[in-house]
């Protein structure tokens, strides 16, 4: 049995789904795993469908795209409609409830997280929702070391944005702890 986890983070351009994937992949590599992160977005800078995929494995990774995901993070209604069919039975389905209103029936385990709303209320802007979702993911799965994640956030973002992104990440962990004890 090989330990291989395939994750898709989907939403709209501008929500930071690509960045969230990068941070997750980097954290996995820092903890000694193999990781590949790919992305897909439209020609527009904002507003079109965007996704970021991360494969984390103990073995060498061949095909870099996610075909069936173990974990799906959806940050827009369109992302849900488009991607839910690729989620494995019994997989984890993390939903931003601020941006997704209709949750379809699936055989996945659903985690509803008010990420964008929390970002706006607590941090003043909606753009930290990606780190909130990432925090929730780490808390729910324990897939990467919580501290190494913080370290990666601090050396990925420009200095003046480090603390607010770490705050968002911690907020995500806290939300998950309260909502899914």
């Amino acid at each position: 049995m090989t330990d291989k986890i395939e994750i898709r983070i989907s939403g709209l351009g501008g929500q930071g789904v690509v960045l969230a994937g990068q941070v997750l992949g980097k954290a996995a590599v820092c903890s000694g795993k193999n990781a590949v992160q790919t992305q897909s977005y439209g020609a527009e800078a904002r507003g079109s469908a965007a996704k970021s995929e991360v494969i984390i494995s103990d073995d060498k990774i061949g095909f870099p795209m996610v075909r069936k995901c173990d974990i799906l993070i959806a940050m827009s209604q369109e992302a849900v409609e488009k991607n839910v069919k690729d989620l494995k039975e019994g997989g984890l389905f993390l939903i931003d409830t601020t941006t997704v209103k209709n949750v379809p029936k699936t055989k996945a385990r659903i985690f509803k997280i008010p990420a964008t709303e929390t970002s706006t209320k607590v941090l003043g802007e909606k753009l930290y929702a990606n780190m909130i979702m990432l925090g929730a993911l780490v808390k729910i799965t324990g897939m990467v070391n919580e501290e190494s994640m913080e370290k990666v956030i601090s050396n990925t973002f420009p200095e003046k944005f480090v603390s607010i992104n770490i705050e968002a990440y911690k907020k995500g962990k806290e939300l998950a702890r309260i909502l899914f004890p």
Binding site: Q22, V29, A35, V36, T38, Q39, G42, A43, G62, F63
Partner: protein, 382 residues
């Protein structure tokens, strides 16, 4: 930080390309941003000025390649990076670099064409263009990386081949490989083999002939150098009507590459001695192969593959060896069929060549699709 410290990183392919170039000694970059190669310009602009190098954004792609040719004659190792539309614009100057024997590296990150096509989506439609895009009798060296690690190592190799053979070298990558992030190990710099162009001794005057790969002076080193894209003799003197001078020059330029095919060729292979079905792939498409082959073998189909790291010059002898063993060779490509014809030519009817093509939307050929093709072809008796 002068050169990236030896370590394991989680880099994007485009970033690894820049670091490979810098490790090779590249200190001049000129480019015009274009998806999916823009990050190369971006990183070069960040990195080169800090290590006494120069990164310029030019007015277009013609000027970009013109600038690197000039920089190379000023003695620098120089590179440009672009994608399909820009690569089309660079074709004339690629011929000029070839004719004037100017070492330089041109990175083409392939996206979906023709024309503007799908700017953010992966494709492999420029394979034949990379070989035949410029006019006249020409031989190309074209490398094809398939991982972030190879974006580093093959960029180093591109510079080494350019310097060794005094010719432009094309690094033909694609959107998938350059935009994805993977772990990459940067080796200690003293373990990276670096080749530098041969310099003339004082008093030498023949920079375009007497030897197969002549020495190259830089401007301001005290040599009289005439550089021209017109037919010229060993000393750079133009002969625009003489058939003998032209034949001698252009045959030498082509032969210095063609006669070194074995040395330039680089590929990875698996089970080619004992397979019923062979697969020949390169770049992003090759990432589906190993999984498909393992699954085919589990179902009892003897399968092997060649993965081309050098596309041009084409490794005819190696492909022929595979054709002697395999009944069929499947050639997966993200285009409507390009290398499959070269495989067909090289295999001389010894194996049946089966193209497997996909275009548009940046969707790769999946291991499942390739496996289905392998199983179908293994079953069919034709």
């Amino acid at each position: 930080m002068r050169i990236a410290q030896p370590n394991t990183y989680f880099w994007q392919g485009n970033e690894a390309c820049v670091e490979g170039a810098i490790a090779s000694g590249c200190r001049f970059f000129a480019g015009y941003p274009i998806t999916p190669a823009s990050e190369i310009s971006e990183h070069m602009a960040k990195r080169l000025p800090r290590i006494s190098g120069i990164a310029i954004q030019m007015e277009d792609e013609l000027a970009s390649i013109g600038a690197i040719i000039g920089a190379s004659w000023a003695g620098a190792k120089a590179m440009t990076a672009t994608s399909g539309p820009g690569f089309s614009l660079m074709q004339e100057f690629i011929g000029y670099a070839f004719m004037t024997e100017t070492p330089c590296v041109i990175v083409n990150v392939q996206r979906t064409g023709p024309s503007t096509g799908q700017a953010t989506k992966c494709g492999q439609g420029d394979v034949m263009q990379s070989r035949w895009g410029t006019h006249g009798d020409y031989s190309a060296i074209v490398l094809s990386p398939n991982s972030v690690q190879e974006m580093f190592t093959l960029t180093v190799r591109a510079f080494n081949l350019a310097e060794k053979y005094r010719t432009p070298v094309i690094l033909l990558s694609d959107e998938t490989i350059t935009h994805m992030r993977e772990q990459i190990t940067v080796p200690p710099l003293d373990t990276v083999k670096i080749i530098n162009r041969k310099k003339p001794r004082a008093g030498e005057t023949a920079f375009f002939g007497l030897e197969v790969i002549p020495p190259m002076p830089a401007v301001d080193e005290g040599f009289n150098v005439a550089v021209t894209g017109s037919t010229h003799d060993e000393y750079g003197i133009r002969f625009t009507a003489d058939p003998v001078v032209h034949k001698k020059l252009v045959e030498r330029l082509n032969n210095k590459i063609r006669n070194h095919t074995e040395e330039i060729s680089d590929f990875e292979h698996y089970n080619i001695e004992n397979c019923q079905i062979g697969i020949i792939s390169y770049g992003c498409t090759s990432r589906a192969v190993h999984e498909a082959v393992e699954k085919a073998e589990a179902k009892g189909v003897k399968t092997g593959y060649i993965r081309l790291k050098t596309i041009w010059p084409f490794p005819e002898k190696t492909v022929r060896k595979l054709a002697e063993k395999a009944d069929k060779i499947i050639v997966p490509e993200l285009n409507l069929g390009q290398i499959c014809y070269e495989v067909e030519r090289a295999s001389k009817g010894l194996a049946k060549i089966i193209p497997l093509n996909k275009i548009g939307g940046g969707e790769l050929i999946t291991p499942e699709e390739l496996l289905a093709k392998i199983l179908k072809e293994a079953e069919k008796n034709d």
